[in-house]
Symmetry: C2
Subunit: 539 residues, 2 copies
Amino acid sequence: MRWWGWGDPGHGPILTGAALDFLNGEVGVAPDPRPPVALANVSLAASALDEGTLEALRAVVGSEAVRSDHAARVFHAGGKGYPDLVRMRAGEPEGAPDAVLLPSDREHVQRLLAACERSSLAVVPFGGGTSVVGGLAPLRGGHRGVVALEMQRMGRVLGIDRASLTVTVEAGARAAAVEAHLAQRGLTLGHFPQSFEYVSLGGCAATRSAGQASSGYGSIEKMVAGLRLCAPSGEIELPAYPASAAGPSMRQILVGSEGILGVITELSLRVRPAPRERCYEGVFFESFAAGIEALRALAQEHARPEIARLSNEQETRVSLALAAAGGGVKARAGEAYLRARGYGEGCLAILGYEGEPAEVHSRRRRAHALVRHLGALRVGRSPGEAWARSRYEAPYLRDELLTHGVMVETLETATQWSNLKALHDSVERAISETLAAWRTPGLVMCHVSHLYDTGASLYFTFLARQHDEQAIAQWRAVKEAASAAIVHGGGTITHHHAVGRDHAPWMVDEVGTSGRAALQSLKATLDPAGIMNPGKLIA
Amino acid sequence: MRWWGWGDPGHGPILTGAALDFLNGEVGVAPDPRPPVALANVSLAASALDEGTLEALRAVVGSEAVRSDHAARVFHAGGKGYPDLVRMRAGEPEGAPDAVLLPSDREHVQRLLAACERSSLAVVPFGGGTSVVGGLAPLRGGHRGVVALEMQRMGRVLGIDRASLTVTVEAGARAAAVEAHLAQRGLTLGHFPQSFEYVSLGGCAATRSAGQASSGYGSIEKMVAGLRLCAPSGEIELPAYPASAAGPSMRQILVGSEGILGVITELSLRVRPAPRERCYEGVFFESFAAGIEALRALAQEHARPEIARLSNEQETRVSLALAAAGGGVKARAGEAYLRARGYGEGCLAILGYEGEPAEVHSRRRRAHALVRHLGALRVGRSPGEAWARSRYEAPYLRDELLTHGVMVETLETATQWSNLKALHDSVERAISETLAAWRTPGLVMCHVSHLYDTGASLYFTFLARQHDEQAIAQWRAVKEAASAAIVHGGGTITHHHAVGRDHAPWMVDEVGTSGRAALQSLKATLDPAGIMNPGKLIA
């Protein structure tokens, strides 16, 4: 992974000249590219750890598993949120871990936590490094120093229970590696967040991740059957029971705990037979409201696709324009066809069905009847296949846009079906008005995805000309306006990005002062010295 | 509800002479019936509350909402577990609330908790009064007295959100009343625990109840979208979001909290369209193991029924014998038919499908193909309909058996599919051996129900001659042996009966010492004076 941005350093550019021209017309781009600084020019304070402290850590995991070189510290200096990228590209991260620790097993983790507690070191558990909400910020929280607990050596698949359809993995296992392991055995986890190429499953569980196919396979909270957590106060081991009525759900306390209670070290996850049939297709609706009604019907009437995403008018328009700018003739012909059929201002939905052929066939047949009844136009598989090809591309594109001085950020929420359109409108307005007030009018796009019986998520993407001097303040203003609109509009502050540092101010809106006090008491019990990931979630 | 047992006082007897003869042959019955004592002869200590304390409570809710008469205190002296019934029938409950409080709204509840905290009174939230695990035991926990917080006046349906398919109710609302309200509007909650006729929905949420149709509709934890809880430290209000990634799940902390953190006062619950088709049918398997394989296939291969229960050989034999003893010719003819087809020693499963006719039809077709492939014999709808007719009868029968000196108790667990048969065998053995050691050899029956992707529950029912002098000690010995077999055999200590007082000793096996400490810290924060339902869950 690039230290200054997303993904494989060998990944080629995506943005065509025509696409850049389009964006220049929409929001404006910088006259000259702004590449990131060189790694050597990233400025870090010297590590705060003295030789005695380093020796104590080396005594636990061995000397090659305690790193404090420049590259390791820079790489672990944050996640991949917009402010992380802005700062890192400029060579000015807010700080970095004083050391990076690489445990190989649970015993290492437990002993490292004890050593860090003794030495007053804050601990940031580090999985795939993909947090977009400041969940990896190397904050000391009043301690003498801070270390990153890099989980990459704890990536083993420990076993598969075929009868019970579960896989047990170490928490550092990457989603992509586990998916490949399962695929060889005819199974799938079905967890495909946009960060799929890098994300660790422990990180997914710690952040309540939901994948692109969560409408069908469920979010990670539905998949976690059992887990182990190393907390400074001791280990909690929860077997992979299918269900239990034994009090508050300890599983659902540890899932979503974002490293503030301890380190998830092991997971037992529900798997499914790998789908033998996959069909991703495009459907056009005359309006966003009509599309929402259709998705609701699919979710509630036994026709739910594994993948569902309905773009609003703006996102549809921009997607088609960028496709035309990239792909040329075919996309433009498609646009003309839609206009001719009266869907020129409409909304595109991608519906993806996966499973056994006969079951997929009957579910799709029900779905087609439902959407036809609601005025939809099916436009075949090519939009679905185009989406599938580029499903993990957005973070690469974001880096390229940053090079061209374009701010791009995403945020998300979820609410009941009855409130979805109203919440969409008010959040869209809050983002647009704030960007306009900064004299950087934006492109605000949204899609509905992650369908439930009772509601769905809204996922906003917005682009604007990056403010030249105050890029972080500009971002913060929009984030605050959007978050206020979300909590006052009846949405959760986060559907799947997690809380981290960025959403922590709104946790009191989410669970109230008593609820926050309850979470604080959990932390005080499991992490009495307060070393675990300070400044996140309930800071 | 009868104060000494279950149900409507007008409900007639179920046990026929032939059935009693059968049971006499199997486990022995008492020579003479042993009816409960008269209500007036139940011995209670005088209420510990002085006039000043009663006045303070009356000032909150009005004088008719503070009861301390004999009948009210007796009725709230416990739940409907086996030891509760044994003690109550003998007129010797372990204690009773000093008063029964009847709040009418959330503000009442919050102010009553404050008044109880000031007066050092423990508070036992009381919904339908159906706990079978000692969850309602009027324990003082070191306080000056104890009151029951009777929720019956908080039973309103507050609203239905048709688009989002949720209903919002006060927590004292009875499942049966809400189901009737929904039925008039073409909806169903789908929550049908055996206690359905009496249970409150707040009680269901507080105890992680699972209904008989949970394989299809999910257990209550899947239904709770939003809730409000009055804790002594303040109120927690959680809106009905479809999902959230905002930290540990506060919903799943309060669901299952069994009154130890506060009082659930309001719930928003997912509902479904009322099924237009219901089909409950019987299927015979050659063995319990074959039946388990079939249920696993149904659960994992898109053919899961709403209701599934597979009786083991013993439960099948006893059910058929009791049906023959009650119903005569038809049941005996059925038995002869099964023997002729080679299923004489087999296992009966009831599979119940509900929903839209076309969808039910296609799911049943898949189910029939799967079970046929696994050697099952379909025996038509009459066993399913017989089960449906008597689905809430077991607690009535239990009272009649107690009158005849027969101990009858149930307990349950859940585990992974790969472990289900082994856990069944070890728990069955533990119960049988303990009963034999007490020289009261028993009938130990079991069924698999509540299907999940990764496993299912085991529900044990056992009958034995009640020990004449030491009925409670006899019961406790079996309970301890079965619980030890469950936790050592890889099962959860409770799948849907909850923890209460009876399972509290095994919570440390369930969540570990760190997990239990975490739960204790939640309680210390939300209920700092420790007045809420002391002695339960994490005692």
